[in-house]
């Protein structure tokens, strides 16, 4: 299998991961598209340097989350990306409207958290163990546990209010 084939296979297998990170760190669809492409680009750029010391998913989460930080912005701006057949933005088009609404509500809840907390809750919801979350985030295990407990409380109080 060529490098290109292996990479495209990898992206296809983990397209959900990239989509979830880009949707949690952007508000506009165009920004989400920009971020999705930037993550894929950064993964490709560092694909050769991935030496398999970390788990593949750990490497991907780290690159995706780190890239998202560089793309944070405050206000609407003009599109920057070239159109890639609209394939990225509309990746979730075919789901039913009710689920789509609930996912939007879920994203809105998480987007109210700080940039670090958003990353931590994403990793938690992805089913990552505290050890792996600590490795990706660069925090101690105790710190991760404390922060996640606080995030849960924050989310709970937000949900109760709504």
């Amino acid at each position: 299998m060529s490098k290109e084939e292996a990479f495209t296979q990898l992206i296809k297998e983990h397209q959900g991961l990239i989509y979830k990170v880009s949707s949690l760190y952007t508000e506009q669809q165009q920004d989400q598209n920009d971020l999705y492409q930037e993550i894929v680009y950064q993964l490709w750029k560092s694909y050769d340097s991935f030496r398999g010391e970390a788990k593949m998913s750990t490497w991907m989460y780290r690159v995706a989350l780190n890239t998202a930080i560089g793309q944070l912005k405050k206000k609407k701006r003009a599109p920057n990306t070239v159109s890639i057949d609209q394939g990225v933005v509309h990746i979730m088009d075919e789901i039913d409207a009710d689920l789509d609404e609930r996912i939007k509500a879920l994203n809105a809840q998480i987007q109210q958290l700080s940039i670090l907390d958003r990353g931590l809750i994403l990793l938690l919801l992805e089913g990552k163990k505290y050890e792996e979350i600590a490795e990706i985030a660069g925090l101690s295990l105790t710190n991760v546990a404390t922060r996640i407990s606080r995030i849960k409380q924050k989310l709970k109080s937000k949900m109760t209010k709504n």
Partner: protein
């Protein structure tokens, strides 16, 4: 929405995403080519063009510095030269710091801290640049007038009656706007850093 419900919905979304077949090999490989302009790439292009213009202007002033015969014109010339050389270099260095953040090796927290600090520094430079540019407006006109038309503006009082009020009004609104933008962004940056400490 309860936390448990959140988890269930997340899993449901993950399953839906795993089933999506829209991402083709062609689309993925197109994304690996840097055909689009990313945010900092775009800013860097503008800043580089600006820097080239500044350096060209600085060279022009430098090669014609001898024409600035009087001490106050020389002072204006030196300030203009320093502004045109130092500020673009510092801004480009600051942008490079952001671009050089290692998204592969860094942990998430390290990236947040480095990015926030670098962005803060860039904004500080831009703010300093805004204030200094008013001084530059004051110093450039006499220098340009002397070099291009061989006229000493300090000896011609009429133009200052028009130039100074217009510059003053512009300065007032521009600095208010610039300071407002800077304050908002840096205060949010400070809260991010303090949260991580």
């Amino acid at each position: 929405m309860e936390l448990q419900e959140l988890q269930t919905l997340w899993s449901q979304m993950s399953r839906e995403l795993a089933d999506q077949k829209k991402l083709t090999n062609d689309i993925i490989m197109k994304m690996t080519q840097e055909k689009y302009v990313n945010k900092f790439g775009k800013i860097a292009v503008y800043e580089t063009i600006g820097a080239v213009i500044c350096f060209a202007a600085a060279l022009y002033v430098l090669f014609n510095f001898g024409k600035l015969e009087v001490w106050y014109l020389q002072l204006c010339g030196i300030f203009t030269l320093l502004f045109l050389i130092i500020l673009p270099i510092l801004t480009l260095r600051s942008l490079r710091r952001i671009k050089e953040i290692n998204v592969v090796e860094n942990s998430f927290v390290d990236t947040i801290v480095q990015f926030t600090k670098a962005k803060n520094q860039l904004l500080l430079l831009q703010r300093v640049g805004i204030y200094l540019s008013f001084l530059l407006m004051f110093t450039t006109l006499p220098v340009a007038s002397k070099l291009l038309k061989n006229k000493d503006l300090f000896l011609e009082t009429d133009i200052w009656y028009v130039y100074l009020p217009i510059m003053g009004i512009f300065l007032f609104f521009f600095t208010r706007w610039g300071y407002g933008c800077y304050k908002n962004i840096t205060s949010s940056a400070e809260s991010i850093l303090s949260e991580l400490e």
